[in-house]
């Protein structure tokens, strides 16, 4: 197992998830180190979202071990989640609350000290100050994504799980979001586990990628290492080899 640069903050060993007869995650092991952005990639049904849900305690693993900050997740759920946060393109903030109210609710939920000051800072960082009194239902997709991300940083998390955070964003907003994530990572030293179907984004943002297929970890390393291991021209090329290998009904002959 390859270690990242800093001390591991997320340590997953032999993670398995069965849904009836389907093995969605099959003995996956990996670590995420301090201050590292790790990209989880793979075709639909590879097990990316299921892994994130297990790391957040939303889904119980069939077997395996999840340790965050050296603590067993099952035993220390609340303590761990106090320093973790999550943003997904598939979740939203309460529609009838304003931007500011939404952040107030989550700041209280995480017991943030000096809440108003914190919220002001987040509104400014994510360019939401002018629309702070606007109800979530009236926000554009880009504004909602920025609000979701600001909620994800409200508790100054040490680890951030992002499930396709730039899906449904136009290229301009997606680019700004990526830059923002990199800046946040540099400034705050946050570790980020990230899923995306955008391979260019993965190459640009990730320090390391984990390539999943049918619940198994096929390859891991820096984007360049993974590209080499697939004898591909780019991550996208590697992705297509995996996806089309599956479509052909084979076991992925193009895989390393």
């Amino acid at each position: 197992m390859r270690e990242g640069r800093g001390a591991p903050v997320v340590d997953v060993a032999d993670l398995v998830k069965d849904f009836k007869k389907l093995r969605a995650v099959d003995g996956v092991s990996f670590t995420v180190s301090e201050g590292e952005i790790v990209g989880l990639l793979g075709p639909n049904g590879a097990g990316k979202t299921t892994i994130i849900h297990m790391l957040l305690g939303l889904t119980t693993p069939t077997s395996g071990r999840v340790r965050v900050f050296g603590l067993d997740f099952g035993r220390h759920r609340s303590r761990i989640l106090q320093e973790v946060n999550f943003s997904s393109t598939y979740t939203d903030m309460p529609y009838s609350l304003t931007v500011q109210e939404s952040l107030r609710v989550f700041a209280r939920l995480y017991g943030v000290r000096r809440r108003e000051e914190k919220i002001r800072g987040l509104l400014e960082t994510f360019g939401l100050t002018d629309i702070r009194r606007k109800q979530v239902r009236h926000l554009s997709t880009g504004q909602r994504t920025r609000l979701n991300l600001s909620k994800a940083l409200v508790n100054d998390p040490r680890v951030l799980f992002l499930d396709e955070p730039t899906a449904s964003l136009d290229p301009d907003i997606a680019d700004k979001t990526r830059k923002l994530l990199k800046r946040v990572k540099e400034e705050r030293g946050i570790s980020i586990l990230y899923t995306s179907h955008n391979m260019i984004e993965m190459e640009e943002v990730s320090d390391r990628v984990l390539f999943l297929h049918r619940g198994r970890l096929l390859a891991e390393g820096t984007p360049a290492e993974v590209v080499r291991s697939f004898r591909a021209a780019s991550l996208e090329d590697a992705f297509l080899k995996v996806a089309r290998g599956k479509d052909a009904g084979g076991k992925g002959t193009a895989l390393p």
């Binding site: 998830k17 849904f19 979202t49 299921t50 849900h53 957040l56 305690g57 939303l58 889904t59 119980t60 759920r77 609340s78 303590r79 989640l81 106090q82 973790v84 946060n85 999550f86 997904s88 598939y90 979740t91 939203d92 903030m93 309460p94 529609y95 009838s96 609350l97 109210e101 107030r104 609710v105 989550f106 209280r108 939920l109 995480y110 017991g111 109800q135 909620k151 799980f161």
Partner: protein
């Protein structure tokens, strides 16, 4: 258990009600409609049937108390659905909030709903039909609390079923309490039920509450026995509902349904 987390979830519901006129209207619309309808029916009956002077008190008292049960049930299940509809459920459950804290927040929000509906109904019953529920006396208070507990138990069961079977089961949030109404002897005494349903009613906390209410109104005496039986049954119902909820919550986590219901 952290109070700030319970308060945060409650605050989220409070903001919705503060902002949404339709939510407040929804909370008071049906009970008000019932009140006006039953109020006129009882006026008519009390004028025609002179031997039953307590019609207004019996029926309007029952109506207000039933609505409290209904609102307390909805306070749990509809508040839960608010998070599901807004796709906010996952955001809440990936926070350090515990399941117990979430349930307590739902119970607090249900008290808010009861307060809104209770105040409006009491006021309107007094204004339209000169019916002052407070004249029934303080003896009614313990029965009222027992109805709230029963409403929470039904709300927890409804929520657990929605967790397990998804949003297709959400219709239960509006209908499940009504299933209990015929055997709860809300508007009539248990004695009018057929023997088999009388046996069922003995195991319904609400039936003892409504029998107790009628006893308070008609004799003024405090029905200690009805209260104790209702209390014992309430404890059993609430404990069973909590056990069922936690069981379904575990099943939902195991089957990955918790994540799916929130997306």
């Amino acid at each position: 258990m952290k109070f700030h987390r319970i308060f945060a979830v409650f605050l989220r519901y409070f903001y919705i009600y503060r902002r949404s006129g339709t939510r407040i209207l929804e909370t008071v619309y049906w009970p008000l409609l019932d009140l006006v309808l039953w109020g006129f029916v009882t006026l008519y009956l009390s004028r025609s049937a002179k031997g039953l002077p307590q019609f207004v008190a019996f029926l309007l008292g029952a109506l207000i108390l039933w609505d409290i049960l209904f609102r307390s049930q909805q306070g749990i299940s509809v508040s839960f659905l608010e998070d599901v509809w807004a796709r906010n459920f996952l955001n809440i459950f990936v926070s350090p909030l515990t399941t117990w804290e979430y349930l307590l927040a739902l119970m607090l929000s249900s008290l808010l709903k009861i307060l809104i509906a209770g105040v409006v109904l009491t006021l309107m019953a007094w204004l339209l039909f000169s019916f002052n529920i407070f004249l029934i006396g303080i003896s009614l208070l313990p029965f009222l609390i027992l109805l709230v507990f029963l409403g929470w138990a039904i709300g927890l069961i409804t929520t657990a079923i929605i967790l397990r079977f998804g949003q297709q089961a959400e219709v239960l949030a509006w209908g499940i309490a009504l299933l209990f109404q015929p055997v709860s002897a809300v508007f009539y005494p248990v004695s009018v039920l057929p023997p088999i349903l009388q046996a069922v009613a003995r195991f319904m906390p609400a039936a003892h509450v409504f029998e107790g209410m009628r006893s308070v109104i008609s004799t003024g005496a405090f029905p200690k026995r009805e209260l104790l039986v209702a209390l014992a049954l309430d404890v059993v119902y609430l404990a069973a509902a909590l056990a069922f909820f936690f069981w379904m919550f575990r099943v939902a986590r195991k089957k990955g349904l918790l994540a799916r219901v929130g997306e």
